[in-house]
């Protein structure tokens, strides 16, 4: 069953007067429970495609909707472009988890607070007050699982790169998203540390059937996934 589908999507950036086409009709279909690697050279548009999948950005308007859903990103049967701003916010909050190359933790918050940030956003003030005990227990459990049980009160600045990325993964998984989007999660780490991050993702994938789309330009990293998609010249190719 297809969880998310990018159907012939196009994305063009305008630089002054020049149009820079980045995605020229990329099509990719990801099944529920799959672990897919998106491989491509730097500047090929991997991050761009990932942002489209995550509802952070929209595909070009003029190529969309010529009757057959072309130019659309469709999640669980529903086109993201048909969603209101509020529904898109909820989509990002509930269905998607993002992991970034540079972790992007909030420096003022502790490890525990960073990992709970997505849950706080999702539940709002009163919802959060009601479940804060539960959520706290879950965050602690997740962090424990990633070997950070002793570091709950630390600030990101006091952690190593690998540790930071594990906090970011905990944050992304906190709301149990259907889709985990990882943009070069090991790109900033040495091979051994990166390997352990991938191990953690793999464990989560095999045990709980987490759907993962992982962007990388590293063949070896891509090989950890079940399926590889290659992005080149603005289109996606299988294998």
């Amino acid at each position: 069953m297809t969880l998310i589908l990018a159907n012939d999507v196009r994305k063009t950036y305008r630089l002054g007067r020049v149009d820079v086409p980045v995605l020229k009709g990329a099509t990719a279909s990801i099944e529920r429970g799959e672990w897919v690697a998106l491989l491509g050279a730097s500047g090929s548009g991997k991050s761009t495609l990932l942002h489209l999948l995550g509802g952070l950005d929209r595909p070009d308007r003029n190529t969309r909707n010529n009757g057959n859903g072309a130019g659309e990103v469709v999640f669980d049967g529903r086109a993201l472009t048909s969603m209101s701003a509020r529904e898109l916010d909820r989509y990002r909050s509930e269905s998607v988890g993002f992991i970034f190359q540079f972790y992007h933790l909030l420096p003022e918050l502790t490890v525990l607070e960073n990992s709970q940030l997505g849950a706080m956003i999702q539940h709002g003030r009163f919802g959060w007050m009601k479940r804060r005990r539960n959520e706290r227990a879950r965050a602690t459990e997740l962090l424990d699982r990633f070997g950070l049980g002793e570091r709950l009160r630390h600030r990101p600045a006091e952690l190593s790169g690998g540790e930071r990325q594990r906090v970011a993964i905990a944050r992304a998984l906190m709301n149990e998203p259907a889709l985990l989007l990882a943009d070069e999660p090991t790109g900033n780490l040495d091979r051994a540390t990166g390997g352990r991050i991938l191990d953690a993702l793999a464990a989560y994938h095999t045990e709980l059937g987490q759907t993962i789309v992982m962007v990388t330009h590293d063949e070896e990293v891509a090989n950890r996934a079940e399926r590889i998609l290659r992005l080149a010249d603005g289109v996606v190719e299988e294998g």
């Binding site: 952070l56 909820r90 990002r92 909050s93 509930e94 003022e108």
Partner: protein, 500 residues
């Protein structure tokens, strides 16, 4: 929820917001101090100004008000009225220390006037047990004045040095004779000790039908000087015993003679003696006053009092309906509360306008705080662009991000305003010691007691004013945060995430 958490963390971990807090703090403190001192100034001034006015005045036209003792009896029988006093007002020329000047004289009956206005408290020359705080060399003349000295002023009566008889005397406003120097410490050094002097009062009596009669002049000893701390009064007013002024103004009781009588006609009597013709006495002209002052009983408002006085006066007119002359009817007198008097009203309005102007100026200056908060927040939004992108990627809405910064602005406003309020209260409460200290350390005297009439700067902060100023401080901070918050909300999440 994340907004509250981040606000707390941002407040404690950043230097910039501390600057914003400091700006809000200084602005609120500044406005609150100015407002409190100015308002306190006005209240003190009015309290002093009210000294000679009573609560409500019944004012008659130039022709005067007869049967005033009956009117007073009727007034004082009313439970809303605590005391009343009849006075005579006139313009006069005062000859003093070899010069002369125009003054306002009030003829009063000392004890009842004191009961209504408390003017006895303003009599300056009286015995003082202890020197004032700043009077280290005991220069205050009052330390040497015998006890009970103010009784002469209270009764406006002196004992004539030659005859030993009681004679009417005057009380001068402390600045009338220009014979005194007010020191910074609150006591007065006289160049000439006026209670040992005499003055000449010259008045122009007006007959019952409004025509001037011969100019009258008389010398009076000075019994005391009064200090109401209200400059208009202290520089222009002279009090005198009422009977003396009534006599001068021909407002005392007199015989009325037949109409059309010609003076200077020589008549021959039955016995053949010649004499000037004598007018036939046809009645008595009662003594008159120009106004009756009334003091309200405890807990009676000015409005209620005025209404009661109006009714009593109407009854009074009715009761004297068949008298000759009749008292002026209600339409020909003015009944007004003390703050309705034109002089006071204009003055109060002037001071209020000045205060408003000053406040507007300072509020305008406080707008800089809005811009400061705005600038600081603007740069914070730039600095936090990536975090904003992360929040959006985690599902935060635009409104949620805007609220983060608005909330943060509110927090800064609340903290800054409260600190500013505390500082303002501390400064205003201790404004006099602080002022003294500045005077000693830097030789600068900002508050000139001569100019402002009070030895002390008003030092009270009204809670309502504090609440208004603090509220405005919060509002200004929120206003300053508005634009950056809108910018944060409008940021494109992808661009924010790519932002270096």
């Amino acid at each position: 929820m994340y907004q509250a958490l981040l606000t707390r963390r941002y407040l404690l971990s950043k230097v910039m917001p501390l600057l914003a807090i400091a700006a809000v703090m200084l602005c609120t403190a500044m406005v609150l101090i100015v407002w409190s001192v100015m308002a306190g100034f006005l209240t003190t001034l009015l309290d002093s100004g009210k000294t000679l006015m009573g609560d409500v005045e019944i004012e008659a036209s130039l022709n005067g008000l007869p049967y005033y003792e009956d009117l007073r009896d009727r007034l004082e029988a009313d439970p809303a009225i605590a005391a009343s006093s009849a006075t005579v007002k006139a313009q006069a020329l005062l000859g003093v220390l070899g010069g002369s000047m125009g003054v306002q004289v009030i003829g009063i009956d000392g004890p009842s006037y004191h009961a209504v206005t408390g003017f006895g408290e303003t009599l300056w020359w009286r015995h003082l047990d202890e020197p004032l705080r700043k009077d280290l060399n005991e220069e205050d003349l009052r330390l040497k004045i015998p006890e009970g000295f103010e009784e002469f002023g209270l009764h406006l009566t002196e004992v004539d040095r030659e005859t030993g008889a009681n004679v009417p005397a005057v009380v001068l406003g402390i600045n009338v004779a220009n014979a005194n120097f007010a020191t910074g410490g609150g006591w007065i050094v006289p160049f000439v000790f006026m209670p040992q002097e005499e003055v000449t009062l010259t008045v122009l009596p007006i007959s019952r039908n409004g025509a001037p009669i011969n100019v009258q002049a008389q010398r009076f000893p000075v019994a005391n000087e009064m200090r109401t701390r209200f400059y208009e009064v202290d520089a222009n007013f002279v009090l005198i015993r009422r009977d003396a002024l009534q006599e001068l103004l021909r407002m005392d009781e007199a015989q009325r003679i037949e109409d059309g009588f010609e003076f200077g006609v020589i008549e021959e009597s039955e016995h053949g003696e010649e004499s000037f013709s004598a007018p036939r006495v046809v009645g008595v002209d009662p003594a008159r006053v120009s106004s009756v002052l009334v003091r309200a009983a405890e807990g009676v408002s000015l409005g209620e009092l005025k209404e009661r006085v109006r009714q009593v006066y109407a009854e009074f007119v009715l009761a004297h309906d068949d008298a000759n002359p009749k008292p002026p009817d209600s339409s020909r007198i003015i009944i007004q509360t003390w703050d309705e008097r034109p002089g006071i009203r204009n003055f109060v309005q002037a001071v209020k306008k000045e205060t408003a102007l000053l406040l507007a100026l300072f509020a305008f200056i406080s707008l800089t705080a809005v811009f400061l908060v705005c600038a600081i927040f603007w740069s914070m939004v730039s600095e936090k662009t990536k975090d904003i992108g992360v929040l959006r990627a985690l599902g935060a809405s635009r409104l949620g991000v805007a609220w983060l910064f608005l909330r943060y602005g509110t927090a800064i406003g609340v903290v800054g305003s409260i600190l500013g309020g505390v500082i303002a209260v501390l400064i205003v409460r201790n404004i006099n010691p602080i002022h003294e200290w500045i005077g000693r350390a830097l030789g600068i005297v900002i508050w000139d007691p001569e100019m402002y009439l009070f030895a002390d700067i008003p030092n009270q902060v009204e809670p309502t004013k504090a609440a208004i100023v603090l509220g405005a401080g919060v509002l200004f901070s929120v206003l300053g945060a508005l634009l950056p918050a809108a910018r944060a909300a409008s940021l494109d999440p992808v661009r924010s995430l790519r932002f270096e």
